[in-house]
Symmetry: C2
Subunit: 125 residues, 2 copies
Amino acid sequence: MTRMKAPPTAKPANGHGAELCCPPLSERPLNSEEADVAAQLFKALGDPIRLRLLSAVASHREGEACVCDISDVGVSQPTVSHHLRKLREAGLLISERRGTWIYYRVDPVTLAAMERMLSVASGRA
Amino acid sequence: MTRMKAPPTAKPANGHGAELCCPPLSERPLNSEEADVAAQLFKALGDPIRLRLLSAVASHREGEACVCDISDVGVSQPTVSHHLRKLREAGLLISERRGTWIYYRVDPVTLAAMERMLSVASGRA
């Protein structure tokens, strides 16, 4: 089963590369464009601070958090903001400004696409 | 739900860091050691060539392949061998020498652990 509707020739402006990408790894070999899109997503998670931030946001009350809610990952607030922005640019977080703060939540579309890629057992034809 | 039995203080020699790591990202904030282990796994997938190789192996006949089966990712055979070795060291591939060739297959334990981490919807308490 593939949910890819068209070859991903470029990452969409909204950061939702995952929407165009990709089948389960066990379904068929990825082509170059698909691999480029997917590698950007996994690369964004290949950093311990970004993983801790993503889990801090995802597990926070109501599944959302702002910089003001995150204080225990051992880096400064500007560094936290920097990595949250990187995660948003990669399409892993969605952000919304409310008053003074920007609130972040996980983008479930992107996470589900990555999860599907790794579903080796269920993905075999 | 967490399947972590003990804090991962070091990556096991067999490359199965995933066995000790990690809960779904939406379950609770990862600690520093968990994030280190998981980041190494995701970092290994943060490269287009490695993703193409992993999908080539996973989707090949019987779910296994040797360098001799992989010819269409646009890099030399030594480079293919290098990246396959990196994927094995990261715990994503298992290898077995048979005659002249080393055969690779996906390590389902590692892939399942990574898939579980990304299961945001099902992982919420």
